[in-house]
């Protein structure tokens, strides 16, 4: 797809990477300063401990496996807040670099990089903290590069494609599923019989890379079934006045109105954005299909598939099918927030935009660079930490003290820790009052029982943890809370006194003895008999994932090293 013969100096890939870096600096801005980013599902903690939950061996739904493991491992060499920034920067730089490599010229590479990394999808997923999805978006162009090489029959292309898949696995289930879908669409199609072996290797690698979350998902005998209500609750929604389809076509449409960029609500901005998307596709798809051939067609087809998956939860008929998959297929809950698959449509849009800009340069040689700022002009609130949504915070000293205290307490009296008020999301004054998933389950080196019900403005999507469900029932029924906690092997309770507690949950804990208190945090002991050691599964999934990654790395890297060694030896 790329013809670099006419380029002197840095190629389109390097320009794409540089563009991605500039975009990252503008988009993240103050978020890159020291401090932890805590926004919705983006939760950074200092020195996140390696626990069963991180390895997917505690029997809970493996939502953050292996993402959290990656964070834990990186946190052994970098501070936790720096790890967050590195991962977010990687989204922009890797994405820009990858898509730039697919483009024929530097202008096309730069425009494609801006389009891939500055759009409603990135703004909304960044605001809600889905960094793994965004790394998946950044991996898509790399999969196209390697997949194109496989289609051409280039030597070493299959291992490279497998390595892309294995590395994408580190970004979590959604990223891997997106990239695998793209790879399958790339390798099937005309002449697919000749690519059966590459397809087989790719799927084998994808399954290996999926093992860290797939194995725990399949072994979840004790979990409650996924709530079908989530399909409706997390279905894509129109975040523009133009309706669902235009919202998805302009890369937006996440279910959560709280993270919609404000300007998407303007009819003028929405119409202009839609016209820009249509112009880019109309002007870029033709040249792309002429030069990229079947690869371009496949990427466009994968984009269409992504849009169908994104819309599925909102379309009658498809919604029912989706609901039955989510409820009956292990790991099917992965599909309920379908809009995340719109990332598959962002990539072809970026490629079309790049090629359209290249085409425009023939008419406006000196003005084509202006196209670089078009994505920014229609979506300014992605700038500067997504308009202040990503704002670093410092944990109060009491939080670090609590961790040490809980470690001492659970060493002396083993048992689970429950966090009250028994709700999933918090808002802390020291975190600029941003909504965030409770950080304590990640901060504490303990088995933390949290209420995994997802409360929404108009409904509650039930969680899957049976322990949490029984504690909720005790709370609702007015039963003896201490006895209910003790029955679930909870021996310690952390109270967060700065959180909403309209149902008086904390008052019902007041009889429990206080063992420690500082700031807004209190640790109480729950009397009860000794707790047997928790039932942990072997980390089969993580081991399989690690073996897959090492094998892919080995096949790609080792022969080259051997060749160097052989050359030196001679």
């Amino acid at each position: 797809m790329t013809d670099r013969r006419t380029v002197v100096g840095p190629g389109p890939g390097a320009v794409g990477a540089l563009t991605g870096l500039v975009v990252a600096l503008v988009a993240l801005g103050p978020a890159l300063a020291r401090g932890y980013l805590l926004a919705y599902d983006l939760v950074g903690v200092p020195d996140q401990p390696l626990m069963a939950r991180v390895l997917g061996t505690d029997g809970s739904v493996p939502r953050a496996v292996p993402n959290d493991l990656v964070v834990v491992l990186l946190s052994t060499v970098l501070p936790g807040d720096v790890v967050q920034k590195v991962l977010l920067l990687a989204v922009f730089v890797l994405g820009g670099w990858g898509v730039g490599r697919l483009m024929p010229t530097r202008l096309a590479g730069a425009v494609a990089a801006v389009t891939l990394t500055w759009n409603a999808y990135v703004a909304e997923r960044l605001a809600i903290g889905h960094w793994g999805f965004l790394l998946g978006l950044a991996a898509l162009p790399w999969a196209v590069g390697a997949g194109t090489a496989v289609r051409r029959g280039e030597p070493g292309a299959v291992p490279r494609l497998c390595l892309v898949l294995a590395l994408t696995g580190l970004a979590g289930s959604t990223a891997l599923v997106m990239v695998t879908l793209l790879v399958v669409v790339l390798l099937v199609g005309t002449g697919w019989r000749d690519r059966m072996r590459p397809l087989g290797w790719s799927l084998l690698t994808a399954f290996g890379a999926a093992a860290p979350w797939l194995v725990p998902a399949l072994r979840q005998a004790g979990s409650l079934p996924t709530d079908p209500e989530g399909v409706t609750a997390f279905a894509a929604r129109a975040d523009t006045p133009l309706g669902l389809l235009p919202s998805l076509l302009t890369t937006g449409g996440i279910w959560n109105p709280a993270v919609w960029p404000a300007e998407r609500g303007s009819t003028v901005v929405a119409v202009v954005t839609l016209l820009l998307v249509m112009t880019a596709v109309a002007a870029g798809a033709g040249p792309w299909r002429r030069t990229g051939g079947a690869t371009a067609t496949a990427v466009l087809a994968a984009g269409a598939l992504g849009l169908v998956l994104a819309a599925a939860g909102a379309v009658p008929g498809l919604r029912d099918l989706l609901r039955s998959v989510v409820v009956h297929v292990p790991g099917g809950g992965l599909l309920r927030d379908g809009q995340k698959f719109a990332a598959l449509a962002v990539l072809p849009l970026a490629c079309c935009a790049g090629l359209a800009a290249q085409r425009a340069r023939a008419h406006v040689t000196n003005g084509a660079w202006l196209l670089l700022v078009v994505p920014v002009a229609v979506l300014p609130s992605l700038a500067w930490g997504v308009h202040g949504r990503l704002d670093p915070a410092t944990y109060p000293g009491s939080w670090r003290a609590l961790r040490a205290e809980v470690e001492r307490a659970t060493d002396a009296t083993p048992g689970a820790v429950a966090v009250f008020p028994f709700t999933y999301y918090r808002r802390y004054a020291w975190n600029h009052d941003h909504v965030v998933l409770d950080p304590l389950p990640r901060l504490l080196d303990a088995d933390v029982v949290e209420n995994d019900d997802l409360p929404l403005a108009d409904r509650v999507v039930r969680g899957e943890d049976p322990r949490a469900a029984r504690i909720r029932r005790a709370l609702d029924d007015g039963a003896d809370l201490a006895a209910a906690l003790a029955a679930e092997d909870v021996r310690w309770v952390v109270e967060q006194r700065d959180q909403p507690d309209r149902t008086g949950q904390l008052a019902r804990l007041s009889a429990l003895p206080i063992v420690w208190s500082a700031g807004d945090l209190t640790l109480r002991r729950v009397p009860g008999p000794p707790v047997p050691p928790p039932d942990r599964q072997a980390p089969v999934g993580v081991v399989l994932g690690a073996v897959t990654l090492l094998a892919a790395l080995g096949v790609v890297l080792l022969p080259r090293r051997w060749r160097r060694w052989y050359a030196r030896a001679r």
């Binding site: 500039v22 503008v26 801006v114 709280a258 709700t423 999301y425 309209r502």
Partner: protein
Amino acid sequence: MAQRSDEGFALVPVIVSAVTGLVVAVAGSFAIVSVGTAKPSAPVDRPLITYDSQ
């Protein structure tokens, strides 16, 4: 100094212009989206915090 390739595309002016354009676009648009973003207080009796709370 700008490095010009035979594709007729000068790199440095593009980067400088792009960065300037980004800054101007962002700064100019901030006034529009900055309206009405008062932060809530944090008493314990405020409403339940939901996944879709602002």
